[in-house]
Amino acid sequence: MLPPDDRIVMRLDLENIIIEGARRMREWEQLQEELPNLDMALDFLQRPGANIRDVNLNVEEWKVVSYINPKNTIRQIMKANKMNELEIRRIVYGLIQAGLVEVVRPAGMPLPPQARQVPAVDKRQQSSLVNRLIDRIRSL
């Protein structure tokens, strides 16, 4: 005779929880190992592998990608996106595995937090910014 349904469900749930817990521990350890230092920066690979075209990015990944620059540390990207360490490590690890980015030594001094993505405030600063863009595009 079969045991009542709820007993089976209970057992499977418990097993799943244990398996899932162990999986997360392993993932956390592995990510710590793969990406020990969040104070490193990221840059796009200049010669990306063939698999790059197949990369599927989700919204969270796009958020990270939009901050990638040798000057931004992984920790700064994490804070800018209000992510935790596991989340940022998981995403960055995925991007590295996909051959999209590489870990690089951060260029120059670390950024003051307010320097992120904030458009220039006063008018003179703004037009200077646009003029720099114009000069750069002209020189392309």
Partner: protein, 177 residues
């Protein structure tokens, strides 16, 4: 360190990817992704096709080019797109009148979301069947004040011209305030 963005939008196959590829210093990252809304609970999915290019201006300034088809349900992408967005470019396939209405719709959606300057790039002007800029302006019922520029997205000089016109508009807009 500042990051500014320009968004390149337009119907499917209008030339967004080609446009960004012509001027980006990194290999343009293109992606198509089915994204579930509302944290997977609602099963409905939306395809998000995005391109991503970069132009480093100097030590303190980077310009990102984002290509997006601007489909209706992209609220969740808007946060990413709009932050630091200077302006946008609507690309149109000048050879395909059946897409003009959609292009106009995308333009209006973007206008509603972002009161930033924009230009319209009448793309594929190298093709014989391309509508002229004048005819396109009439077909799209564009205000004479809106800049519409002939474009060949695979031609770097042509893309530069469109970007520069947008930047001139941005500068003008700033001076007005």
């Amino acid at each position: 360190m500042q990051t500014v963005k320009m968004v390149v939008t337009g119907p499917f196959s209008a030339g967004k990817t080609s446009f960004i590829r012509s001027v980006s210093e990194i290999d343009v990252v293109s992606t198509e992704r089915k994204i579930s809304t509302e944290a997977e609970r609602i099963k409905e999915t939306t395809t998000v096709a995005m391109d991503f290019g970069r132009i480093t201006v100097d030590d303190d300034l980077v310009l990102y080019l984002f290509g997006t088809p601007g489909q209706k349900r992209f609220d969740f992408m808007w946060e990413i797109l709009s932050e630091g967005m200077l302006g946008f470019i609507v690309t149109i396939d000048s050879t395909r009148p059946e897409t003009f209405r959609e292009a106009k719709g995308i333009l209006q959606t973007f206008r509603a979301y972002a009161p930033t300057p924009y230009v319209v790039a009448a793309n594929k002007q190298d093709m014989e069947s391309a509508w002229s800029v004048e005819d396109l302006r009439i077909a799209l019922k564009l205000d004479p004040a809106v800049k519409m520029l002939p474009c060949v997205a695979s031609d770097k000089e042509s893309v530069k011209k469109v970007l520069l016109e947008l930047l001139y508009s941005i500068l003008e807009e700033m001076e007005k305030k």
